[in-house]
């Protein structure tokens, strides 16, 4: 028995993410931000090949040369190292320190949130209450406290930042999972006889990843600022490694003599952070219209 269709159906869609991408292309600001991010990422990736100088080569004679000096496009820092090179190499660590904690928090947070949301009941309450304790600390304070307790160093900062973001991601994941759990198609899934993990993997995960992903992209800029902030305090990356926050720290004493140079690393953090934010906003509205 075949039913006649009154209307012609559009061709089968090519998938969810493709449509989101199409939507995103229309948002000018988001695309510009994406371009900026791409530029920075490329500069970071290919720094060893495209940077003009050695980031560690110091020269006491060439300290704090102003921007536009001969051979040093953006001047030199307090130890005579080329700023442009340092900034490009600094992008690697700064980006890494910004992105990695969010990535780890995304993976860990989604897993915990899924589990807590699906299982429900007392286990859920227990998990959420424990996380609420971490939630009681302002992020900056918690990051500094954990980082300070563990000691300076990149890995310690990464751990600290991940710990700061995990509770936030869990909150979102748990909330969405709890909502989804009550829907009819979950009951239908239970009626199929499938096991818990199978149901979570096939039926629940896809619905949770969306909102969590959106939230996580918003965390990227916060993470970058916090990570660089930790280095600025002396708790993150250790000298002589180039990293924007650390560079801000070491150049501080130079603000009297070469203020523009001293402000450069921070400007990079600002540009990257705002690009991440605008891109995240764009992705969010692109996903909104679709659903």
């Amino acid at each position: 028995m075949h039913i006649q269709n009154a209307s012609k159906l559009p061709p089968a869609n090519k998938g969810y993410w493709f449509t989101v991408f199409q939507q995103l292309k229309g948002e000018r600001i988001a695309m510009i931000s994406a371009g900026v991010v791409l530029l920075i990422v490329v500069a970071a990736l290919f720094a060893p090949w495209i940077a003009p100088a050695d980031p560690f080569k110091a020269s006491m004679l060439k300290r704090l040369l102003p921007i536009g000096s001969e051979g040093y496009l953006l001047g030199t820092d307090e130890l005579g190292r080329d700023m442009l090179t340092r900034l490009m190499y600094g992008a690697r660590l700064s980006l890494l320190m910004g992105v990695l904690p969010v990535f780890f928090a995304f993976v860990m947070g989604t897993s915990i949130g899924l589990f807590a949301g699906y299982v429900g009941g007392r286990t859920n309450m227990l998990i959420m209450r424990v996380l609420d304790i971490f939630y009681a600390f302002p992020s900056v304070l918690l990051a500094v406290a954990i980082s300070g307790a563990l000691g300076p160093g990149m890995s310690n900062s990464l751990i600290a930042l991940t710990l700061v973001f995990v509770p936030q991601v869990v909150r979102i994941a748990e909330s969405v999972t709890t909502q989804v759990r009550q829907l009819d198609y979950l009951e239908a899934a239970r009626m199929s006889g499938a096991g818990t993990f199978e149901i979570i993997r096939v039926q629940v995960l896809g619905n949770v990843l969306g909102p969590v992903f959106v939230y996580s992209t918003g965390l990227l800029s916060v993470s970058m600022i916090l990570a660089s902030g930790l280095s600025f305090l002396g708790l993150g990356v250790k000298p002589p490694e180039p990293e924007w926050g650390l560079m801000l720290n070491t150049l501080r004493s130079a603000i009297y003599k070469a203020p523009l140079t001293a402000a450069l690393p921070g400007a990079m953090i600002f540009i990257t952070s705002i690009s991440f934010n605008l891109l995240a906003d764009g992705i969010r509205s692109a996903m909104d219209i679709k659903k």
Binding site: M1, H2, I3, L9, A12, N13, Y16, L183, D184, Y185, E187, A188, A189, R190, M191, S192, G193, A194, E198, V202, Q203, G206, N207, K291
Partner: protein, 351 residues
């Protein structure tokens, strides 16, 4: 036995055609209301109270009643989505309460459900094909076979696989989605399908198509249906037997012609009178049901219908009536003191 799709699961018919496929005894479910901080007494919603019935193989049992009468809760209890407080269930000759693990999984395959909200019952992130194929894959069928089965079933319910298999739920109409839900249920090659208000949200013309489809499928695949609805026309069309529920209890049960032509319970009579009449000479002026709608948290003592019944007597306030035969017929029973004066003890054995 079936159409193009070969049977993927082995089903042995235990007990033969005479044994009912489903027997339910004394089902009870009370939901605990969340107490306030200072409340001492626990309050319960008496959703399902002492419900017993059976369904014969290959037949359709329609369950009717107003909203809140416990029909959906009964369905969920039978489907084992929620645990009953009390009561037993025998499916295909075996007690279900003892099921666990693999047996439960097998039970889940043989008993499927189609829900009312066609949109909410489909995962928005999966394609139609993936949704239908999920079930067989859970039970060991390979992905390719399951996908083929999905395509066959889509064709059977009237949706061309080439056009629909890769679509998402939000791209389909309500009627199309319900067809998908039916296909999904069929993919398990079940014995019994519970249809919980499955056509309620559809337009009348679409309803008719879906009902016809259900009728055909039942005959083709020797299915048994439990059809829950508040729409009496639809129930009359599809059912062989009808069970009327009120405030969590069974008040009447019998063959469809008897229920619709010679109802025995005052509530059934009122429900039937409430159907707008097509006859201009017999217009419906007065609402046949008076009194306040019932409160399942504090149900009335005795017969729960007494507050709205025109014929309520003293006994109705104190003694709860049990199901008894109407005019001596074993397949038509009613829970009412007016039937034969006093209620007779309800007999054991298939109804």
């Amino acid at each position: 036995m079936m159409d193009a799709s070969p049977p993927l699961f082995k089903d042995i018919d235990k007990g033969g055609p005479a044994q009912p496929l489903l027997v339910v005894r004394g089902l009870r479910k009370h939901f605990l209301l969340k107490p306030g901080l200072f409340q001492k007494n626990k309050q319960y919603v008496h959703a399902v109270e002492d419900v017993s019935f059976s369904v014969a193989k290959g037949k359709t049992l329609g369950i009717v009643g107003e909203s809140g009468c416990g029909k959906s809760t009964t369905a969920k209890l039978i489907a084992r989505l929620i645990k009953p407080d009390h009561g037993s269930m025998i499916f295909d000759g075996e007690g279900v309460a003892e099921y666990g693990g693999l047996e439960l999984k097998e039970f889940r395959r043989k008993l499927q459900m189609v829900f009312q909200d066609s949109y909410a019952s489909l995962n928005p992130r999966l394609t139609i094909e993936q949704t239908i194929a999920f079930g067989p894959q859970v039970h060991g069928v390979s992905k390719d076979q399951a996908t083929n089965l999905a395509h066959t079933l889509l064709d059977r319910v009237g949706l061309k696989p080439a056009q629909y298999a890769n679509r998402y739920p939000h791209e389909l109409s309500g009627g199309q989605r319900q067809r998908v839900n039916i296909a999904r249920a069929l993919a398990f090659q079940p014995r019994l399908i519970i249809l919980d208000e499955a056509v309620a949200a559809l337009d009348k013309s679409v309803q008719a198509q879906v009902l016809n489809l259900l009728q055909e499928l039942k005959e083709e695949r020797e299915l048994t249906y439990l059809f829950i609805s508040h729409d009496l026309h639809v129930v009359q069309y599809l059912s062989d037997e009808v069970m009327v529920m009120y405030l969590g209890q069974v008040v009447e049960k019998g063959p469809v012609e008897r229920i619709f032509n010679t109802p025995a319970h005052p509530y059934t009579k009122a429900l039937l009178q409430a159907i707008p009449s097509m006859d201009p000479d017999h217009k419906t002026w007065v609402s046949p049901l008076s009194g306040d709608p019932p409160n399942p948290i504090n149900p009335p003592s005795g017969c729960r219908f007494r507050d709205r019944c025109d014929h309520a007597k003293a006994t109705c306030h104190t003694v709860s009536p049990a199901l008894s035969k109407v005019e001596g017929l074993s397949d038509h029973v009613v829970a009412c003191h007016m039937n034969d004066g006093f209620s007779q003890p309800h007999l054991e054995g298939p109804l």
